[in-house]
């Protein structure tokens, strides 16, 4: 993909499409149509003139795409496979969109939408991408105390979610694409009789989130192959027997440098420490204090835009649990509540940016980010980690001695 120095502007690496010399000119029509500069830059008017015959066909292609409503290809059209994602998943486009990318990672085309067998119970967004029950529910304002029946169903669903994540963990290696990981997650979920909650949730195009390196969360599985040295988070949520179970882990791909290892381990510990304070009577606000303290002490920063959330028959509901300190989160933990804690910790600054696809959150400085998540149940005396590791879970974290 685009070369050049880490923080250099893309133009520095542009070569003339005709002769290969450094390029500082581009076609004004391309500018007008907002087409990428790669392959459309020239060193002189002469080279541009010489390329014109073949170059102008790019405009034609873009024009054809323009003719379909919304300027991009409709995501539901039969040809919508291996295209770049736009508008939160509602559209696809042939060309990689323009953006001032914060790091070296780029989006890749995504595959066709995966099907879920009709006999599997689906949440209300599966058909049209729009959750209807969730946004209007009272559970967005009050924290539910789960009934014993709900708790039992959540135990089962969370266990399935754990097994699905473990299946993904087993295939992580250099050379595998995040799309292939998504296929594994999708298959494992459906085989267990569950629906992969992220699929079509507010139009999200895939069955899990895969977040590589500088991606903080909500990365969309695509055609990019994992590389030796990458870190990748896989976030799985399963919907089964009417309830959701949500967890994620960050994995090492091949040989990862020491700094990234420390980041991932610290993030794991942040979640561990947060879970250790969960019990009736503790303020939700405290979670952020604990996480923040540990992260800052290790020289890292805490992502502030995304938070832990209540979960159950709804995917996301009250309470909102920020991971940063000095937050105004309302409420106190009570037995029977189920929620997630999912700290995102960055090697550099805490700020996040959003990719043109409308989902992928990346660090503003392009440095790595790690995350871990569990679904928790508050018990009379403490906490039950519903998505806990099983004896069969793969041993991929060197600091866990099993």
């Amino acid at each position: 993909m685009a070369g050049g120095g880490a923080d250099a502007v893309e133009t520095a690496a542009l070569c003339c499409a005709k002769c290969g010399k450094p390029a500082h000119l581009q076609c004004p029509k391309c500018v007008e149509l907002k087409l990428p500069r790669e392959g459309a830059a020239f060193c002189t008017q002469d080279c541009f003139k010489a390329s014109w015959g073949s170059h102008k066909s790019i405009h034609l292609k873009a024009k054809l795409l323009e003719l379909s409503p919304g300027n991009e290809q409709d995501a539901t059209s039969p040809a919508s496979s291996w295209l770049y994602c736009l508008k939160k998943g509602q559209a696809r486009t042939l060309k990689m969109p323009n953006f001032d990318w914060t790091g070296t990672l780029r989006p890749y085309p995504i595959s066709k939408k995966r099907e879920v067998p009709a006999h599997i119970e689906q949440p209300d967004w599966a058909s049209d991408g729009i959750p209807k029950v969730e946004p209007n529910s009272d559970l967005q304002h009050t924290v539910e105390i789960k009934t014993p029946d709900q708790i039992e169903r959540m135990r089962e669903t969370c266990r399935i979610a754990r097994e699905v994540l473990d299946a993904a963990a087993r295939v992580i290696r250099p050379g595998i694409t995040t799309d292939e990981i998504d296929a594994v997650v999708h298959e494992a979920t459906v085989s267990a009789g569950g629906y992969p909650s992220p699929l079509n949730y507010h139009f999200f195009p895939k069955s899990c989130c895969t977040s590589v390196n500088e991606v903080i969360c909500h990365g969309i599985p695509d055609a990019r192959k994992l590389e030796d040295g990458d870190i990748v988070n896989v976030d799985v949520t399963v919907y089964h027997k009417g309830v959701h179970g949500d967890l994620n882990e960050t994995f090492f791909v091949g040989n990862v440098d020491e700094a990234s290892q420390r980041l991932v381990q610290c993030t794991y510990e942040c979640l561990e420490k947060a879970i250790s304070i969960v019990k009736p009577g503790v303020r939700f606000r405290e979670v952020g204090e604990v996480i923040n303290r540990h992260a800052l002490m290790s020289g890292f920063s805490v992502v502030k835009s995304y938070c832990g959330h209540g979960i159950g028959e709804l995917f996301h509901c009250a309470p909102n649990i920020p991971h940063y300190a000095r937050n105004k989160a309302v409420g106190i933990m009570k037995a029977g509540q189920t929620f997630t804690i999912e700290p995102m910790i960055n090697a550099g600054v805490w700020r996040d940016r959003m990719w043109p696809d409308g989902w992928t959150a990346v660090t503003a400085d392009g440095k790595c980010s790690a995350q871990f998540e569990h679904t928790l149940l508050v018990t009379e005396t403490g906490v039950e980690v519903l998505t806990a590791r099983l004896p069969t879970s793969p041993n991929v974290f060197p600091w866990i001695h099993s």
Binding site: R37, F42, N98, H202, Y306, K328, V330, R353
Partner: protein
Amino acid sequence: MEDDEDEPPLAVAITATVDHVISQPSDTFPPVGVTVITGYLGAGKSTLVNHILKTQHGKRIAVILNEFGEEIGVERAMINEGEEGGLVEEWVELDNGCICCTVKHSLVQALEQLVQRKERLDHILLETTGLANPAPLASVLWLDDQLESAVKLDSIITVIDAKNLRHQLNLHRDSSSFPEAYLQIAFADVVILNKVDQVMADDSGNILEELEKEIRDINSLASIIRSTRCQVELSKILDCQAYDASHVAHLEALLEQNKSLTTRELHDSGVRTLCICEPKKIDLDKVRMWLEEILWDKKYGMDVYRCKGVLSIVNSDQLHTLQAVREIYEIVPARKWRKDESQLNKIVFIGKLLNEEVLYDSLRACTVDNC
């Protein structure tokens, strides 16, 4: 557009800036204040907005007109920038983000996008229609300082039609439903009593004084401004910093008038203002629990809408400010106590079923001598 050009156009120089989304680093500019303008239909909200835009003030102000249904969301906003007297209307499509696991509500994200698109926005006016209760909006806009957001809730302004206020307040006296007017007044930082010319034409100034008393009985913290056609001095309504924990001066002046803040005659609505005072220093942990029991657990059966105060905390030389909107509250050290100051706790409550004695006693239980 013709595609069949045989002659290529003149190539253009590639500039260093990328033509797509560039966001301004928000820490280079102070956050842009957001003023929520609420009030009944016809009270004069639009008149107020137009007045703000047309007045020669050299500020770039964006106005967002919003229809709030059951859900607070913004899909499209009309940006009306009054620049040197000229009005530019522009429909902006805002990204309706999903609320899943994001800290900032989609409305806030939309407002931040707005600030980052335009050069130097000085203020945002959020004109609401169909919103009976401004509290949910205030909760959404009152962000944690930690988020270092590009926008900041500045104040809630309620525009009231002086001619119709009595009628609106009376409307539900005999029924069980709760008039919106009470809520809009209770949550206001500024009340604009508009159309005073129409009232004074009929009667003497007494009616206006009575109206102001009714408003103060509900909410004695809000400043009341009389106006005709909403011609109000901008300095009185912009940059109020009503939700700024460090903006103590305004709060302190308010709390100087201790006695007069408490409503003596109970309004029919049951909504009133109550100010309590405690001279002894209080324990921070105890006062947090005290407040949480009142705001979160509805202990003592009281329904608190807003709360503002100055606290004297044991083992601290800092004056602490207290601010609450419904269940969301914040206690923050604001500045050092001055040597000559009497370090008192003063807290003002606005709400229903407020029990003065219970509040005094329970606050006293938080003092340090009382273990």
